[in-house]
């Protein structure tokens, strides 16, 4: 029992960045756009969040900055893909490469600087519940936000007209265009939202998970988030499940010794990546399921015919 609560807490901490990034990418993909730049947007969110909290001391400003950083990077992607009709795959890759490089440059002065991490907020009354109280109601604001986002996104996509329009654009951009909806505007907003969320996810890494700055500290989480969206079959609830599943797997490495697992640390470090591959394979092999759940216009270029 002594071990359980700290372990669960670390799972939540590990899952939250993935959750943010995957939720954002899911919304982007629901509109029909595949943004491979999640890793780049996340790492920019991480460095910008860290820099802001270092210079301003305010967590709020740091969160705000990381959202802006992610959205800003995403705006580049949107410009290229929506206005310049560039192909989505290489543009996303360019975003990742650029983001990683830029964050390394910006983070030069931040290496080694310490930060105590964002404070936890206890919800009165509820946090006194044994076990569940500590786990669920004594978290930092970003964890609460991540869960709220799960609910909000689910509601948005399934119960609002705007969400319906977004799903329609992802289903058939030609039909949506023919009906008079601005595919470009809707996708632009979806892409920005994805970037903002990725930035948040990255910020969580440097503000709460570590908390410090290391080059390329996202270590592939952006890519795992992309795989998560496929695993979740583009459904919000499953993204939540997947994020926590992966959070758990990536944490195993930390607790291996406590659990008495005598496997070399590098092998434990491989686990999240291997797990991602396995999960991808399991989901992708059911071609029908993918076809039914994936937004039909995902990744396809949009050329409005006259």
């Amino acid at each position: 029992m002594d071990f359980f609560i700290p372990a669960m807490l670390t799972i939540i901490t590990a899952a939250t960045p993935l959750l943010f990034a995957a939720l954002g990418e899911m919304v982007t993909e629901k509109s029909g756009v595949l943004n491979l730049g999640v890793e780049g947007m996340m790492v920019m969110g991480a460095i910008m969040g860290f820099i802001s909290v270092h210079y301003s001391g305010s967590v709020t400003i740091a969160i705000f900055t990381s959202i802006l950083a992610g959205a800003f990077m995403a705006a580049f992607f949107a410009l290229f893909v929506l206005k310049f009709h560039a192909s989505q795959v290489p543009t996303g890759l360019a975003l990742t490469i650029f983001g990683i490089g830029l964050s390394a440059l910006l983070g030069q002065g931040m290496i080694g600087i310490a930060y105590e991490g964002i404070p936890k907020i206890s919800i009165p009354l509820l946090s006194s519940i044994p076990v569940a109280g500590t786990l669920f109601f004594q978290q930092d604001c970003l964890v609460y936000m991540s869960i709220i986002m799960v609910l909000a996104i689910h509601y948005f996509l399934n119960k609002t007209r705007a969400g319906l329009i977004l799903r329609a654009v992802g289903d058939s951009h030609d039909a949506a265009h023919a009906m008079g909806y601005s595919v470009v505007k809707i996708r632009f907003m979806a892409i920005l939202f994805g970037g903002a969320m990725a930035g948040l996810g990255g910020a969580y890494l440097s503000l709460a998970y570590s908390p410090l700055w290391v080059e390329q500290m996202t270590a592939g989480r952006g890519w795992i988030a992309l795989a998560l969206v496929v695993f979740a079959c583009w459904r919000t609830g499953r993204v939540l499940f997947g994020a926590y599943l992966f959070g758990g797997i990536s944490i195993l490495q930390l607790h291996a010794q406590a659990l008495g697992i005598g496997v070399p640390s590098q092998v434990m470090s491989m686990l999240p990546y291997l797990a991602t591959i396995i999960v991808l394979v399991i989901i992708s092999r059911d071609v029908s399921k993918i076809k039914l759940n994936a937004p039909a216009s995902l990744g396809r270029p949009f050329h409005p015919s006259r």
Partner: protein, 511 residues
């Protein structure tokens, strides 16, 4: 402005695109309750005119009067506000959403989905368009999808309904039902603008017709005073010569035989082929009719080798089992095929005509030597196709996507015909192709058959099949009907086959 008897009046509508004058000072007027045909063959400018009525395109010149008042139609939303509704040829539907969600998206403000579902059910009952609002579109047939489009329009309580080639996706029986619905609506005062090139339908449905040819209005007539030939002459400029089936009575040996072919669908969106039996002899043209989405594409892929069979003997080419052979092995055995989709399947959009010629011709035309491509030979082949089939293009180095629909189809068919195949399977040979190219294609298909090849045509165009084929059958839900000599068949009987009804119960059943 004086009260005009016309609901809508177009005067001098002109639209120019780079290199083409799509509409040249076209006039059109429609009264409430009138079913008015907009007649013209592919490329005459019907779609362009109608897009201007619906606010998708802005005219370069001309005026529109609606209810006697001059209007500028800014957008489809504006058109809808005026009471103009349009059912397009290509539906704007979202497969993964339900019927009611789809329809709600066509309405410009937020709606209560429950209430909308009720309205949909009511309208569908009233006008004979059965539809369940909660079904997801991907589960619906093409005919049912069209009903969504129609109901969506009717919910707006329109005063003018524009229908663009609505019957290309319907069986003859479904066409009759649609006409009943349209007549009912017209009786209630709805004006209908009916775009088509199918003269028989226009004769039976419409009151007046405006004929377009090459962007110009040739005339406006009262249908009762015209015959299909006179309409055809106005539409084409001359009467289309009917393809002469010739005196060929007995066909030669069986070149292609399909024996009890069953092929499961690749995934849940495909059609499973079941117990396909088919025979095509040298010198004959066999036609397979059918509404889109009944397995035509699957059948083509099973026949040409893109999908291989379980048993080699399911498909016999020139007396040799070919079921397990791939497309190129079947080509070597003498089979050529032309798929329904041109860009992306029959031709590569981004590559030039030389590369496109190589695509299926490299075996039979000997374009490959020890693994290396012989480009000069390939160029000659491409040029031969371009010349022999009058493909209008500025050269062979242009990408296939830059060719017009008719020219591309001429190229693709020409590419296959130049290889002198013994068996040719063509799917939708003249869909969307202009009259001139259509003639060329149909002539060459007949010529190929006369030279001894076995030709199989899969087409949604019943008139085409009735004219061209020696024997005709239909595909429905992945099953093939029996085949009958075309001379013994009528459009109605084929319509039954298309709907999956067997004719063997006795000819007496058919009206």
């Amino acid at each position: 402005m004086k009260d005009s008897p016309y609901l809508i009046e177009l005067k001098g509508m002109t639209k120019v695109f780079p290199g083409v004058l799509a509409n040249d000072a076209v006039d059109l007027k429609i009264k409430p309750g009138e079913i008015h045909a907009l007649l013209g063959e592919n490329g005459a400018g019907k779609s362009t005119l109608v897009k201007m009525i619906y606010g998708i395109l802005k005219p370069d010149a001309g005026t529109i009067f609606y209810d006697g008042k001059r209007v500028e139609i800014e957008s489809p939303a504006h058109a809808r506000k005026l009471g103009i509704a349009m059912v397009f040829q290509h539906f704007s539907l979202f497969d993964s959403l339900s019927v009611v969600e789809n329809i709600s998206l066509g309405i410009n403000q937020a709606v209560d989905l429950k209430k909308l579902a009720g309205e949909i059910t009511e309208i569908s009952k009233r006008y004979g368009l059965p539809l369940d609002p909660h079904r997801h579109v991907y589960t619906l047939s093409v005919g049912e999808r069209q009903r969504i489009e129609i109901i969506r329009c009717l919910l707006l309580q329109p005063r003018l309904l524009v229908m663009d080639e609505p019957t290309s996706v319907l069986t003859p029986q479904e066409v009759q039902k649609l006409f009943m619905t349209l007549n009912r609506l017209a009786e209630e005062g709805l004006a209908i603008l009916y775009i088509s090139h199918k003269l028989d339908e226009i004769k039976s449905l419409c009151h007046h017709a405006t004929i377009l040819r090459l962007g110009k209005r040739i005339g406006t007539v009262n249908i009762d005073n015209e015959s299909t030939s006179s309409l055809a002459i106005m539409m084409m400029g001359e009467e289309l010569e009917r393809i002469d089936k010739g005196e060929k009575v007995t066909a030669g040996e069986v070149r292609l035989r399909v024996d009890n072919l069953t092929m499961p669908a690749i995934d849940s969106t495909g059609i499973t082929l079941q117990n396909i039996n088919l025979e095509v002899r040298a010198g004959e043209i066999v036609g397979i009719a059918g509404v889109a989405g009944n397995g035509q594409d699957e059948l083509l892929k099973a026949l040409n080798g893109e999908e291989c069979c379980q048993t080699a003997s399911s498909i016999i080419i020139e007396n040799k089992p070919a079921g397990k052979l791939g497309p190129n092995a079947r080509r070597r055995a003498g089979m050529a095929s032309v798929p329904e989709k041109r860009l992306g399947h029959g031709a590569i959009p981004d590559m030039d005509l030389v590369d496109n010629a190589f695509m299926t011709g490299f075996h039979r035309m000997g374009l490959l030597a020890r693994g290396l491509i012989n480009y000069s030979k390939t160029r000659s082949f491409a040029h031969k196709v371009i010349d022999d089939f009058a493909v209008k293009t500025s050269g062979s180095r242009v990408p296939a996507s830059s060719l017009s629909g008719g020219n591309l189809q001429k190229f693709i068919i020409g590419r296959e015909l130049t290889q002198a195949p013994d068996i040719l399977i063509v799917s939708q040979p003249t869909w969307g192709v202009d009259a001139g190219a259509t003639q060329t294609i149909r002539h060459s298909l007949r010529k190929l058959a006369d030279q001894g090849a076995a030709v199989l045509i899969i087409s949604q165009d019943l008139d085409e099949l009735m004219e061209m084929s020696d024997r005709i059958g239909a595909i429905c839900g992945g099953r093939l009907s029996h085949f009958y000599p075309t001379n013994d068949m009528t459009v109605e009987k084929v319509g039954l086959l298309m709907a999956g009804v067997s004719l063997d119960q006795g000819e007496a059943n058919v009206a």
